[in-house]
């Protein structure tokens, strides 16, 4: 019989610093494009590479609207060569209005994760948020299977039409106070699936969304960042250049 206790004690503490750490481990995040100065020609060329309208040219600047980025990497590959930043603080309040849960919920938040059409990438990332490197539980945030106990509804996927009613029912089954977090670009604006007869084009079309976590998929650090924002344990970045237009 394998002695799991001894093995895990021998491995030691495997939790790593959270999303607001100064230096993130290599590979923990794919990074994201950042707004930067580029001459008009280059900016136009690079902006044309983006398939989901997250790059725009404004005077001498290439402005990035990260909430639409689908991580196709075309702007970063040869032919684009755009600068990316390795960070994971990708949680953003909708309409820039911070609305965390009341103070007494800070260190005790229950999250109900709902799959509204997410692909395997978002599923894989969200399953890792309570893995040892990211260790969601140390923040007092737990995943619950019933919306009756949940404070936060974490939704991924563009809301496939067949999941529209289950999403609404889950939202209505949650008691107040509650917050809805849309993770991944599909949940924000439908991503590559957009709006069709089978896809609602984002969680905001079905239930009111409080916080979005951009990325395709958002790495576990970014998801943890979003949950920490909603719990009120972190303040959102006052990073003007990445605000929604």
């Amino acid at each position: 019989m394998a002695n799991w206790v001894a093995h895990s004690l021998a491995d030691g503490i495997r939790s790593e610093p959270g999303p607001d750490a100064r230096y993130l481990p290599a590979g923990a995040t794919p990074g994201r494009p950042v707004s930067q100065r580029l001459n008009e020609q280059d900016a136009a060329r690079v902006a044309a590479l983006c398939p989901n309208d997250s790059l725009a040219v404004r005077e001498d600047n290439l402005v990035v609207n990260f909430t639409h980025c689908i991580h196709c990497q075309r702007c970063r590959q040869p032919g684009g060569d755009l600068q990316w930043r390795d960070d994971a603080q990708w949680g953003q309040w909708c309409d820039s209005v911070a609305n965390p849960l009341p103070h007494r919920y800070r260190r005790s938040v229950n999250v109900r994760y709902l799959d509204a059409g997410a692909c395997g990438a978002c599923m894989g990332e969200v399953r890792l948020i309570d893995a040892p490197p990211y260790n969601l539980h140390r923040y007092g945030i737990f995943i619950t299977a019933t919306p009756r106990d949940a404070d936060v509804l974490l939704v991924a996927g563009p809301v496939a039409e067949a999941m529209r009613l289950p999403l609404r029912k889950t939202y209505e089954a949650m008691p107040e106070p509650k917050r809805v977090v849309a993770m991944g670009v599909c949940a924000i604006d439908g991503g590559v699936f957009g709006q069709s007869f089978a896809s609602n084009g984002g969680v905001g079309e079905v239930v009111p969304v409080d916080l979005v976590i951009a990325g395709c998929p958002p790495p576990p650090l970014a998801i943890v960042h979003g949950l920490l924002l909603v719990a009120g344990q972190l303040q959102s970045l006052k990073d003007g250049e990445d605000a929604k237009p």
């Binding site: 019989m1 394998a2 799991w4 093995h7 895990s8 495997r14 481990p25 290599a26 590979g27 923990a28 995040t29 794919p30 990074g31 398939p51 689908i70 991580h71 990497q73 075309r74 970063r76 590959q77 040869p78 994760y113 709902l114 799959d115 509204a116 059409g117 997410a118 692909c119 395997g120 990438a121 599923m123 894989g124 990332e125 399953r127 890792l128 893995a131 040892p132 490197p133 995943i143 299977a145 919306p147 996927g157 496939a160 039409e161 067949a162 999941m163 529209r164 009613l165 289950p166 889950t170 991503g191 590559v192 699936f193 957009g194 069709s196 007869f197 089978a198 896809s199 395709c216 998929p217």
Partner: protein, 521 residues
């Protein structure tokens, strides 16, 4: 090759075959729809072909059905094309694996297959969509069909068991901690599951319809993201179809690197499945260690390619960008340390009798059932059905790099676990072999879109699948049939669940390691 020619001659003489066209390794026959079952029985029974895929193209006045088969030993494809006029007979009696394909066609195209007892309420759920909505027909736009909110109140789950006191126990669509959306209807008189019925397509996002009219690079984005954890495999299949259409020769370096990326993805996929399996049995430390190994591979992927799930690497003609030498050396060295840790993990798991107790003789899929449902991938290999598209129809660099065959015959959860471990090790070996003597030529050939249609295929981590791509003169997609191994493995899943206890259901599901997103598209 000559066997294909003789086959072509034999089939051309068959009544009901209107014309035939022989290509290199491919035979396309135009047939009458009512003769299809007879031809299918001939191909499968006498000539030992395997069923590949079945789809509809609705581009002209009358829709066209295409049944595709492949021969694992002779590496050839045979397709039967028929106009969908008159009565369309079902082939599910002969090829039970065609069941879900026919149901999908009925829901999305409105074509009925006579003799099939379970048409309807498949892709388009009866409680969401009104009857007679066929959204994939060409005249229907992607935004027109709208859901009917009033149908929800009268929906009933399918009930097949008549036993006094039996319960129809629904699991889903919102259930568990981190589970994918899907409904599993379990019927039984209490603890035991007598019958199970899998109701998927809660995540149906209509990628095939959205793709129509888009240029290929945009459809490549869809292919990667409709099943994110098998992005490379679906990307490779689509790109190969495009390359077949334009007869582009992919450089050798690109082929080998495609093998490296595909095998790396397979390793990471299986590692995630193993971690989930440990977690489903309640072995929390085992799950945590498995997740750490999975995270290691994800970070390695980001370090070598910029994305944890390898998005944006595969492009028509080769790869979108090169992986330079020090990145590849990093890959090689890191994989060695990974293998050591994996071996240690495997030894500990196989020494945990409480863990093995819960997966041994659990979720049995015996060889006969596996053959009837034509399961693919690790699920099939654990039940004695070793189908591998990398060997049957070698693509990318697999022509010169043959993967080691793995096979078990018990078909229980433990057999599947052993297959997962074995495949990770095989993938590591393949990556090493692919990187050994990697040519230094270009990593991409220029791909020019042109009109045409072709199959593309790949062995995804969950099993092999076949795509079909048709482009118009401008290079936009006219029809993309996105294949998935889910139509075989999810189809057979309910047989593995029946006869077990309710508590074992999550464990059996974890031991299958299937993706609902990949199946629903």
């Amino acid at each position: 090759m000559s066997q294909l020619q003789t086959l072509a001659v034999v089939l051309a003489a068959h009544p009901g075959v209107k014309s035939s066209r022989l290509g290199d390794d491919q035979l396309v026959l135009k047939v009458l729809p009512e003769t299809v079952p007879g031809l299918v029985e001939l191909l499968i029974g006498e000539y030992a072909f395997e069923f590949a895929t079945l789809f509809v193209e609705d581009l002209a006045e009358t829709p066209v059905l295409q049944y595709s088969f492949f021969h694992p030993a002779d590496h050839v494809l045979v397709s039967l094309r028929a106009y969908a006029v008159g009565e369309l007979p079902t082939i599910s009696g002969c090829v039970h694996a065609a069941d879900w394909y026919e149901r999908e066609i009925e829901d999305l195209f409105g074509l009925c297959f006579s003799g099939h007892p379970f048409l309807g309420d498949f892709v388009l759920h009866d409680d969401v969509w009104p009857e007679a909505v066929a959204p994939m027909r060409r005249r229907v736009s992607a935004t027109t069909p709208s859901a009917d909110a009033g149908r929800a109140a009268t929906w009933q789950p399918r009930q097949q068991l008549t036993e006094p006191g039996s319960v129809v126990f629904p699991v889903g669509p919102v259930w568990g901690d981190y589970t994918e959306a899907g409904l599993y209807v379990l019927e039984g008189p209490g603890e035991q599951i007598r019958l199970a019925h899998t109701r998927l397509f809660y995540k149906y996002r209509a990628v095939e319809k959205v793709a129509e009219g888009l240029p290929l690079p945009a459809v490549l984005l869809l292919a990667e993201r409709c099943s994110g954890n098998a992005a490379v495999a679906h990307g490779i299949a689509l790109c190969q179809a495009a390359e077949s259409i334009s007869h582009t020769m992919v450089p050798e370096r690109a082929k080998r690197l495609r093998v490296v990326l595909a095998e790396f993805e397979r390793m990471r996929y299986h590692m995630a499945v193993l971690a989930e399996l440990a977690g489903s049995t309640g072995l929390a430390v085992g799950k945590a260690m498995g997740q750490e190994l999975e995270e290691f591979l994800l970070r390695l992927a980001a370090r070598i390619s910029g994305h944890r799930y390898l998005f944006g690497l595969v492009a028509p003609g080769g790869l979108a960008c090169d992986l330079d030498a020090d990145v590849l050396m990093l890959l090689d060295s890191e994989l060695q340390s990974f293998l050591a840790r994996l071996g240690r993990y495997r030894r500990w798991l196989e020494a945990s009798s409480s863990f093995l107790d819960r997966i041994e003789e659990m979720g049995m899929l015996d060889t006969a059932t596996s053959e009837r449902y034509a399961t693919v991938g690790p699920v099939g290999r654990a039940s004695g059905r070793n189908q591998d598209l990398r060997c049957s129809l070698p693509y990318a660099g697999y022509k010169h790099l043959t993967p080691t065959a793995t096979s078990e015959s018990e078909g229980d959860g433990y057999a599947r676990m052993r297959i997962f471990f074995q495949e990770i090790e095989n993938s590591c070996a393949l990556i090493g072999a692919a990187l050994d003597g990697l040519p230094t030529d270009a990593v991409s050939a220029h791909w020019q879109s042109c009109e045409g249609a072709a199959h593309g295929w790949a062995e995804a981590p969950a099993g092999g699948f076949f795509d079909w791509l048709r482009l118009d003169a401008d290079g936009n997609v006219l029809r993309w049939s996105a294949g998935t191994p889910g139509y075989r493995n999810w189809h057979a899943f309910h047989r593995a669940v029946e006869g077990n206890a309710f508590q074992d259901f999550p464990i059996i599901m974890a031991s299958f390691g299937l993706s609902v997103a990949e199946s629903d598209r």
